[in-house]
């Protein structure tokens, strides 16, 4: 885990905000926190924890990270549970439940639960709550996934465990459920110092675009996303074509293939076929380690799109806004939480709407600039890792004052 300090962020969030975070942490110093999730690397949760946990430790809050251990059969079951929570129909067999429970219980054996707060991330280790009686710790369930329309059988099974926690945390008001425990809003966050978001030298940006054969001779419209029908890459090309009749521009569709998506290759073929014959459309297939390249493409873009048909939270929107880019996004998933219409971007519902907004912003660069600037400020306020840190620090106080609406420290 890299050594990072809150002071590294001071020049971004300002002295006053940094001071407030130190003040909030002061009264939690010495508390012992354990975070449990299912993977040490890869995926958004591990990415957030790998930055958040060093920051908590830097503030004197003794925070440990545990990864649940399991075999292929366990992770096969948890993948199915994950998909079911997204609404997919699955057959949730007794055998699957046994594997799920057994691996959780095996992990709990000899587990050090001598903590003040235990934060369980996502459904994989949710059964840890069975050990609640072994420790005076407060238990928190942090759900990172969209459970707004879950498979009822799977959710009912998990709900029995979730209800035993002291509190639950969700990424959007849309994802919250009727539960007998308090639920708090914890937006996902981006790290302004990571390779994906940090400032880049103009020469480096030039080099990356040259390497990817993307000339910078006309406005660049970009969508960063994996090649997946749900991200509507074909719709993006059609919107671009509608714009191109009026205003010359380039389109960049950049992202990785979804390795766990059997349709990924087919979608990519379809996109290539739709783009055929237009040298101003650039389809860029990137390996998962391409954070700096994505950063450079975003920074070189004139407008950034996220024209998804369905979306989880869609943090690519915050990444683009952080770079002060005007963003046009579909009104789905977590995108409306990031785009306030006409203030931090444009929300659209169709290909026509997307095309119109692109044309409008290309012909009104002053308005596009303002949207990007406000977007940057909004991300600074709500979607940076330091805001996530603030939420955790507040949560620790809230857990010590259950039922109080105003807590005086």
């Amino acid at each position: 885990m890299s050594l990072i300090s809150l002071m590294d962020y001071e020049q971004i969030i300002g002295k006053e905000t940094t001071e407030e975070l130190y003040l909030l942490a002061e009264r939690s110093k010495g508390r012992r926190i354990k975070m449990v999730n299912s993977t040490a690397a890869g995926g958004g949760v591990a990415e957030i924890l790998s930055r958040l946990i060093p920051l908590l430790n830097d503030l004197g809050i003794d925070t440990h990270w545990e990864v649940i251990k399991g075999g292929e059969d366990f992770f096969g079951v948890t993948k199915k549970i994950h998909n079911a929570l997204h609404g997919e129909k699955i057959s949730f067999t007794q055998r699957m439940k046994e594997i799920f429970l057994d691996v959780n219980r095996e992990n709990l054996r000899d587990n050090d639960l001598d903590q003040d707060i235990i934060v369980i991330h996502d459904p994989q280790p949710v059964i840890y709550i069975e050990a609640k009686g072994r420790t005076p710790a407060k238990w928190v369930w942090r759900c990172h996934i969209d459970i707004s329309n879950p498979n009822v059988e799977v959710w009912e099974f998990l709900k029995g465990y979730v209800e035993k926690y002291n509190v639950a945390l969700f990424s959007s008001p849309r994802f919250s459920k009727k539960l007998p425990i308090p639920q708090f809003l914890f937006f996902p966050s981006i790290d302004p110092l990571s390779d994906k978001n940090r400032e880049l030298e103009p020469e480096f940006i030039d080099q990356v675009l040259e390497r990817l054969y993307i000339p910078r001779d006309k406005p660049i419209i970009t969508q960063i996303s994996r090649f997946d029908h749900l991200k509507d890459p074909i719709g993006v090309i059609r919107a671009y074509r509608a714009v191109k009749r009026h205003t010359d521009c380039r389109l960049v569709l950049a992202g990785g293939e979804a390795s766990d998506d059997p349709e990924g290759e087919a979608v990519l073929d379809e996109v290539r076929s739709e783009a055929k014959g237009d040298s101003d459309i650039h389809i860029v297939l990137l390996p998962p380690t391409s954070s700096l390249e994505i950063n450079a493409i975003q920074r070189a873009s004139t407008i950034i799109l996220q024209k998804s048909l369905k979306e989880g939270f869609g943090l690519t929107v915050s990444e683009a806004l952080w770079k002060k880019k005007p963003v046009i996004g579909s009104a789905v998933g977590g995108i409306p939480a990031q785009i306030i219409p006409n203030l931090t971007g444009a929300l659209v519902h169709s290909i026509d709407g997307t095309a119109y907004q692109i044309r409008y912003l290309l012909s009104h660069p002053d308005i596009a600039k303002k949207l990007g600037e406000y977007g940057h400020e909004y991300v600074k306020e709500k979607f940076l890792i330091t805001r996530n840190l603030r939420r955790y620090l507040l949560l620790f106080h809230v857990l010590s004052h259950p039922g109080e609406r105003i807590i005086h420290l």
Binding site: E16, L23, S176, K177, E381, R391, L394, R405, H408
Partner: protein, 216 residues
């Protein structure tokens, strides 16, 4: 030393999800009737703090949703026009909002069950209030501290204070008036229209007024 010192506080809030939502005006009315005062406080006075860098048409989340999702602009205007400075309790504020919405539904019955484009999710907040290290003993200190004070502190003392104190003023004016006997400056800070300026602009306006008072 001119009087009692001013202790600067700051307030942060964690947003609590209630799991309740409204898709129509009637459902919003029901939510407003039974929700906690903390929910009203959050949607009217706190959530806009996160958009403090810009001036929006409406500060209140209720007015925003009615405008953006229900397209009932006239109602949004009426709710958006409600001024925090005219209320000293959440109860009064809630009653006024309920009356305005009820009257509107009575006048335009077709608005009652019209489905919004997106739901209104009811939230409430838990606030954590703590003292900062800043203490002002006189106008010069006060000016220096306001210059570098966090935006949350300004919101806490200038806007949240009214409902906390239950009086038609703010913490800054109250202290200037009662402790420093600066009646004119207290009044000039009360007169700042918090709806027309961002919190950063409000900071600059306070600084300007304090500076003028020091130099006078």
């Amino acid at each position: 030393m001119e009087g009692n010192p001013f202790h600067f506080y700051t307030s942060s809030n964690l947003v609590e999800l209630t799991g309740e939502k409204a898709d129509t005006l009637e459902e919003l009315l029901t939510l407003l009737q039974r929700c906690t005062g903390s929910a009203i406080f959050y949607h009217v006075f706190q959530s806009y703090r996160e958009r403090h860098f810009a001036i929006e048409k409406y500060h209140s989340d209720f007015a925003q949703w009615i405008f953006n999702s229900l397209d009932e602009e006239a109602l949004a205007e009426r709710l958006g026009f409600l001024d925090v400075r005219d209320f000293i309790t959440i109860r009064n504020f809630r009653e006024t909002m309920l009356q305005i919405i009820t009257d509107y539904i009575h006048k335009y019955p077709q608005s009652r069950n019209r489905q919004g484009k997106t739901p209104f999710y009811l939230c409430q907040s838990v606030s954590v209030v703590m003292p900062t290290k800043h203490i002002a003993w006189g106008l010069e200190d006060f000016h220096k501290i306001i210059e570098k004070l966090g935006i949350r502190s300004i919101h806490y003392h200038l806007i949240e204070a009214r409902l906390r104190l239950g009086i038609h003023t703010n913490d800054f004016s109250y202290w200037l008036r009662t402790s420093l006997k600066r009646e004119e400056l207290a009044r000039r800070i009360e007169e700042i229209d918090i709806y027309l300026y961002s919190l950063e602009e409000i900071r600059r306006m306070i600084l300007q007024k304090v500076k003028e008072e020091i130099e006078s």
